[in-house]
Symmetry: D2
Subunit: 334 residues, 4 copies
């Protein structure tokens, strides 16, 4: 943290700020400049509360200097993390494609889609058993029955499965049945859930919150690593902006930034970002081209009969085209 003093701050005010810094157990380093004094705060463990210092007389600005996260940072661990899921290795060196319906609706629906996406290029199968829905009147998922269907899909197709854990109450259940535990965008700062995920024995796919900065997202991952679980896959799924031609704005510059700041793998979810089928293939190509380690996309064999988000689901043939295009792009610069 760097404190910038007013031009007219008195030496007494500077001394009082130095004393306040030291009273908190940090070190203070005044830096006299041409027009004003700045004061560096050193030797802090953990984040420093900017607002506190802004309240002191003579302080004009409090500027964070270092990043708040530690375990997730590349400075702490320079080499890339590879998350193992069965035989798959998610991260640098491979392009991982996760596909499946928004929600598990029945065993036959799940198996039909799973067999198609496997044949066309998917590595993992996705499908929601517990669904977070904006409206209490919308379909909320099959619950445990959905998880059992996912287990049968894995058994029959050999594909590992990904599904969302929405809350603490059902976390054990989800952890029991799935291979990768998804934490959704709306739960990115559900700290109780993050702590539970830190104790999980399975990898966690952590979606970015729809208004989360990269720092906040990485701090959410820090909760999981700090809890003892090193296997986190980050997933960019679009942020909320003034623009409404897609449901959210897929923030692709997040991919190179995260790859520079952190050792964790990062994938994208173009289906939820776009919210409409006709943008999914272009945004998938762009995601792979920007350097994502993988994609998660929604596919349904009969989108017009889907119980949720059918309009953003690809038809199996579209998914095949997507796989062909993104694999070719990945070859270009891997």
């Amino acid at each position: 943290m760097l404190l910038v003093m007013d031009q007219k701050a008195t030496p007494e005010e500077v001394a009082a700020v130095v004393a306040a810094i030291e009273a908190r157990g940090y070190s203070a380093r005044p830096i006299p400049g041409g027009e004003r004094v700045a004061i560096g705060i050193l030797n802090n463990k953990g984040p420093v509360d900017a607002a506190f210092f802004l309240g002191l007389p003579g302080v004009r600005d409090a500027i964070p200097v270092t990043r708040p996260y530690k375990l997730v940072s590349r400075e702490f661990k320079p080499e890339d993390t590879l998350v193992q899921v069965g035989d798959l290795s998610i991260g640098t060196g491979a392009l991982t494609i996760i596909a499946g319906p928004c929600a598990i609706e029945s065993e036959s629906q799940a198996l039909t889609i799973a067999e198609q996406v496997k044949r066309k290029g998917a590595h993992l199968f996705r499908g929601g058993a517990f669904k977070p829905r904006t409206s209490p009147y919308s379909f909320q998922g099959l619950g445990e029955e959905g998880l059992k269907i996912l287990a049968r899909v894995r058994e029959k197709t050999g594909m590992p499965v990904v599904t969302e854990a929405m809350d603490f109450e059902t976390f054990d259940l989800v952890e029991h049945y799935t291979d990768v535990i998804q934490i959704g965008a709306r739960n990115m700062q559900n700290f109780s859930l993050l702590k539970r995920a830190g104790r999980a024995k399975k990898p966690v796919l952590l979606k970015r919150g729809m208004a989360a900065t990269i720092d906040e997202w990485l701090m959410a991952a820090e909760y999981i690593l700090e809890g003892g679980n090193p296997d986190v896959i980050l997933c960019e799924r679009g942020v909320r902006t003034f623009a409404h031609h897609s449901r959210n704005t897929l923030d692709l510059s997040a991919v190179p930034v995260v790859r520079k700041e952190s050792h964790l793998p990062i994938i994208t979810d173009p289906s939820h970002a776009a919210g409409r089928r006709d943008q999914v293939i272009p945004l998938s190509r762009a995601s792979v081209a920007v350097g994502a380690h993988g994609l998660m996309v929604e596919v349904h064999h009969a989108p017009d009969q889907a119980l949720s988000d059918g309009g953003q689901s690809l038809y199996p043939d579209q998914f095949e085209r997507l796989c062909r295009q993104v694999n070719s792009i990945y070859e270009v610069f891997k």
Copy 2:
């Protein structure tokens, strides 16, 4: 929902869309216009999935027409809801002021602040026992011990207390000790928590998520009402925008909009919106002037020693000035 067809959509495409609407159990009403056909969707219970229809050939746009909420809407219940907390009535006809520290740190801290804010004009006491923190390394609150302190504050001062329930696991505990249960911005779409709050026997103060539309916020309240709890107080606490001169941008036009759309009371939280002490009093005045039913502000007797968010807490004397000013403004146009 209104579907707008392409100018060149064929009669067959229009017919197929009508059939798809009817297959979902809704009614379809084609509206031929000068340049193109639009198709109204009627008789839907609950929200219609726009994305689904966008995927059909010839459909150019799918425009939501009606609001998705019901129980919270003023169309459903025209008269204002007054939430009773002990002798207090929160809503139209009164200005309610909630004040206290960000976090409960000790009994003496809580009592000192409570006695001061009561004397200076507060009606309820606030203080966090369980604290959602961006960093796992920050102070996380005193937990149950904090709740017990809140109960003693109520006992000694007679003020009802407000504190946050962060998760399902500790909800019972919070409900037991507190008078009003707060659901924080990061949990606004924690649907498991909302369902639990719907079964609570105490009023719920529901903060707006930092990127939530008013529709989404009211749908979150709908979860609580639908669960059986009619006593919800909405709280605007700033939204995330490109602007960074305050921590969040307090969206005061939300107040007249919510008052028009819903019968529920609405207050604001200028402390969390601003994130810095020097904006809290002006934004409090503005909140009351725009028509909020109350305020929630942070006050600390020694902000420079606070364990969290000290820099946005008012000194007791500032709080007294705030109360004087907002009460005068409230008199002007109540």
Copy 3:
């Protein structure tokens, strides 16, 4: 500017950065910390290009420390600026109300409205002669004929007038006829126009761009002051956010921030922020309560026949209520 080096930056990299700073004519001050080195850049005239330093090996972050503006800053001129318009003094110590139609449509329309708003409490009359319109097919204003009508309004009512100068070509004309020259939100960074405004002999009302930071807005004002015109009135008119229940989100925390950072007067424009009539009175009250020096609102005697923005214009009786309420609020804490 403060440069933060990587933890693993070598002494050679630090030395190279110091050399690069000095090669640009600045001074470099390395600050060794516990985990990494930071380097302060001192003695720069004008802004420093962060992106340049971010490109050097070993540099992790480049953090601006001082504000880029000078003449508009309160550090440069501590006392409040009062802008004189005839007998009126706009700034601290008075509440200035500017009212009138969106566009001048005819002499009788302008005079009818002017007489009404004067009687009910307006100090200046507003009305567009040149209208910036999103669509080339919309009414573009009466042009010079509109300016002549404004001059007759002033003559008959004694009220000074405010109107927008949209471009360099018509600036002379606008300057000739009007008392205050408005620069619109879409032109806030039309630097040619700002330079011309710096040579104007009349006060300038400078609206905030719809995605402008406060720094950028004050830098736009700096162009005008630097050009020789000290009389700038800032006008907050809402910023673009994800929220769409009002046309823009009125950013009221900008008012205390600008009042702290700058000596220039600041008013708000609730009509353009809201974009709908039913939010204008509440947002006007809030603007005065937060500390604005004045308001600019749209009033039309027959909004349903207005050629532009009729739906956000107040009826004269609503304007009277607005004046009564905001004057009472202003009395409370002036």
Copy 4:
């Protein structure tokens, strides 16, 4: 436009709204629904003012149904526009790369860079002669001398040149010297400039404003086409959001949306979106993969000596890598 009435709107209110619609020369078509009435507005030429109807008693919502633009829309002209610049054809069927420094600094600088980027893969040369700068104290460009240098670059290298016209006063000059006239993001709604561009005899490269919706951007292009100039190239350059890890958030879903809505070619500017060199190559790859018709990137032979935006300029060798990668990606799915 579709007007949605309150549930309790009376037949008299519906009739009054119908009358108001017809008084404006439009047709009204009431659509009785289960819970409420909606009223379609038909036969309007040009946009309808939503705010006006929102002010009428009983009206709850006014929802735009059709797009406001005409000449730029694909419905109006289904086949892709190809913009001819000398022998080059910009649009579907080719990938166009525009490269050069942010600002023209001297003839030797411009020629050095031009020769390098031509050899490595650029088709057009870019460079600013008139520079819009946030600060009045920053380098503002060489002016006409810069334009003459651009003309000499064209003469010596054979590459057409692109440069920005900042204002009406210097537009003639820019039009005289350049091959493509750029209109910058800050001028996207400078309607006087757009009208002048509509009379230009050379193609216009129109950047998206930093908070512009796609509708507003296309309406800005509509001004140019309506003025008589059919040759507009759109350029996505990032929008302003809460995220600050890049200067702006490159909105790549705009590319498929614009290609669907309009027949005009669209390119991107990853350098200005990112604001930092290390994101330019990934975002360039993503732009081509998402379907852009071209790229505009900043290249400088000695970025650490550049007079503006050096930190976002690529080194020539990086530009060569960029060209190799994007051309390979373009081959994959063109």
